[in-house]
């Protein structure tokens, strides 16, 4: 594959599980500073796609280039270190650590065993933690253990943990699932704020939420690309209406 100007270039990506193609020769290009939303009915291959980008699942064929660097075949932690952050569907935070510690552990220093032993809580670290805590609205809860946060706060904390790494590409898997309408509002505002300096890929089912945040929408169906474009174009696409929005 040639050099591209895209931040993320996925070409001919295929993964098959015992013959079942969860993602089937998919091409997807995402630009710098873009907020892309991926939608599609259950089993469309959305989460599998994110799994392959972050190295959790190895594709059967195809290539994933991030900043013109091949990600396929690299280990998960190596992919993270190139600047890819991934938020899981269910909030994964460290329940027995405080909000501060959750963010501190995610700070991208001291990632090797001996680096970790030598790690010190420098003013730089504290500063970053405070900045991110302000961003995700958890400044008041810095010393609360993760287990005592509300569901919405846990989701924000996980986004904050990713922001600590300053990723170029941030992938969010259903970030507003289980949130109250007020929390959805705040999450949409948060995503729009953090999108300025980086590229974000969001998987979401909530159409109202999608239309609020998306620059461009990609619709997947049975592992294949069904449609791509603005929310308006996608909403009026007859194929999309048939498989997904019409239900």
């Amino acid at each position: 594959m040639s050099e591209t100007n895209f931040l993320l270039a996925i070409e001919d990506l295929t993964v098959s599980f015992d013959g079942f193609k969860a993602v089937d020769s998919l091409n997807l290009y995402v630009e710098k500073g873009e907020l892309r939303v991926i939608i599609g009915p259950n089993g469309a291959g959305k989460t599998t796609l994110l799994d392959m980008i972050c190295g959790k699942t190895q594709p059967t064929a195809g290539s994933i280039k991030f900043q013109n660097q091949e990600l396929v075949g690299q280990t998960e932690h190596a992919i993270v270190r190139t600047g890819v952050g991934r938020k899981f569907q269910t909030p994964s935070i460290y329940e027995n650590l405080t909000v501060f510690e959750n963010l501190e552990v995610s700070f991208p220093k001291g990632r090797s065993v001996f680096g970790c032993i030598a790690f010190r809580r420098t003013p730089e670290v504290i500063d970053r933690v405070h900045k991110v805590a302000d961003e995700i609205g958890l400044r008041e809860s810095l010393h609360v253990e993760g287990a005592f946060l509300s569901h919405g706060q846990k989701q924000w904390l996980e986004i904050g943990m990713l922001l600590m790494q300053e990723p170029e590409l941030l992938m969010l898997d259903e970030p507003v699932a289980g949130m109250s309408p007020a929390e959805r509002e705040q999450t949409a505002a948060l995503i729009q704020r953090i999108c300025r300096d980086r590229c974000i890929i969001v998987i979401e089912h909530d159409m109202e939420f999608v239309s609020r945040i998306a620059h461009k929408v990609t619709v997947l169906h049975l592992g294949k690309l069904l449609a791509e474009g603005s929310m308006e174009e996608v909403r009026n696409n007859p194929k999309v209406i048939e498989v997904y929005l019409g239900h």
Partner: protein, 384 residues
């Protein structure tokens, strides 16, 4: 100074725990027990090293190894090989057909000291090997398993199998290892007779001091980022991995740490007891080490030491009267503790200090509170 207090001594509770432990091991027990029992307690403390390693490995990181006897044994055999070579000088072995080699080699018609044994003529090398060899073996096993994401019950079973293989390998190579009888008849270390009462006192204090130093070092390690990383690893391995950490290397590190600690315990055991045998390094001792940590409280460093003392004391007293029933008792104790009191003695103590005692104290001060505002003492009390 402040960092030292918080990191090395783990603040107020850590300091009081350390003082209590030091007072018990260095003052109370030596003043109240005779030399026979001091030696016995010294032996228990050797197992506490292995239990400390398990606290970090199992309690903090969530990786259960049922094969710590392997590392305890490696440390012990390293020490015993040196002591045996020193005890087998040509003069005291002159009646053998090949003088100057350990007696069991002579019985097995070996004519030369095996190459494996030669480095153990050196005391510095042997002391180095006591820590380094278990750590190296753990590094190789750990790398092979954790890089392939072997964990949980599979890891536990494989480590247990390795401990069994190790004890069988020793058992089956009598000429090289002393076989089932082990390595016995150890006398001096660098010319210093380790069998006298005087030496046994010194070895006891050395063991207790090394144990306290190990606790302080582990406290320092766990109070930093490493402590948080290990908790994070135990709770959300995937999240740690996708935060850019090579999870397997952290597990390898902790496994090596636990192995090195076990090795030190094994070497001190040999010095105090005067022999080592495959029966001390196989499956049963490995599981006993896990029981010490579980009873003491698998996430508490001090708990591990108290657990090793309590369970071993129980074993010594109880197995004298009911030798047949002891293993069942031990199994029952393990299941009971894990199911009913997952935080062991340390958890119970914590509950008493943080929840029960303050409630009793306020009641004593203010008299019984009116029933409507009764604090939920029973509800909390049931959860250990």
């Amino acid at each position: 100074m402040n960092t030292l207090y918080h990191r090395v001594l783990a603040g107020k509770s850590g300091t009081s725990g350390l003082i209590a432990m030091a007072a018990l091991l260095l003052v109370v027990l030596p003043c109240t027990l005779n030399i026979f029992w001091i030696n016995v307690v010294g032996k228990y403390l050797c197992f506490a090293f292995a239990a400390l390693g398990l606290v970090v490995l199992w309690g903090k990181t969530g990786v259960l190894s049922l094969g710590q006897g392997l590392f305890f044994g490696l440390g012990g055999y390293c020490m015993a090989m040196f002591l045996k070579l020193e005890a087998s000088d040509p003069i005291s072995t002159k009646i053998q057909s090949t003088p100057g080699i350990p007696d069991f080699m002579d019985w097995n018609q070996l004519k030369h000291l095996p190459a494996l044994w030669v480095p153990f003529k050196s005391l510095p090398f042997s002391l180095f090997a006591v820590v380094a060899l278990p750590a190296l073996v753990a590094f190789i096993i750990g790398l092979a398993m954790f890089k392939r994401r072997v964990g949980g019950v599979y890891f536990a079973v494989i480590t247990q199998a390795l401990a069994l293989i190790f004890s069988l390998a020793i058992d089956g190579n009598q000429g090289y290892t002393g076989g089932r009888n082990g390595i016995t008849d150890l006398k001096t270390m660098g010319g210093w007779d380790i069998r006298t009462h005087h030496a046994q006192y010194i070895l006891y204090f050395a063991t207790a001091l090394l144990l306290l130093i190990a606790v302080v070092l582990l406290q320092w390690l766990l109070s930093g980022k490493m402590g948080k990383m290990l908790v994070a690893l135990r709770e959300r391995e995937d999240r740690v991995r996708f935060s850019g950490y090579d999870v397997s290397m952290f597990k390898v590190f902790v496994f090596c740490l636990a192995a090195g600690l076990s090795g030190v315990g094994g070497a001190l055991f040999v010095l105090q007891v005067g022999f080592i045998a495959p029966s001390l390094v196989g499956i049963v001792p490995s599981i006993e080490m896990v029981i010490f940590a579980a009873v003491g409280g698998r996430a508490s460093l001090y708990g591990a030491i108290y657990g090793a003392l309590l369970v071993n004391a129980g074993k010594s007293l109880f197995s004298e009267s009911f030798p047949q029933a002891w293993l069942f008792c031990m199994g029952g104790l393990f299941i009971g503790v894990v199911v009913l009191f997952p935080n062991g003695v340390a958890g119970g103590w914590d509950w008493w200090c943080k929840q029960a005692w303050p409630v009793i104290l306020t009641r004593l001060k203010d008299g019984p509170p009116p029933p409507a505002t009764l604090p939920p003492i029973t509800a909390k009390g049931e959860a250990p």
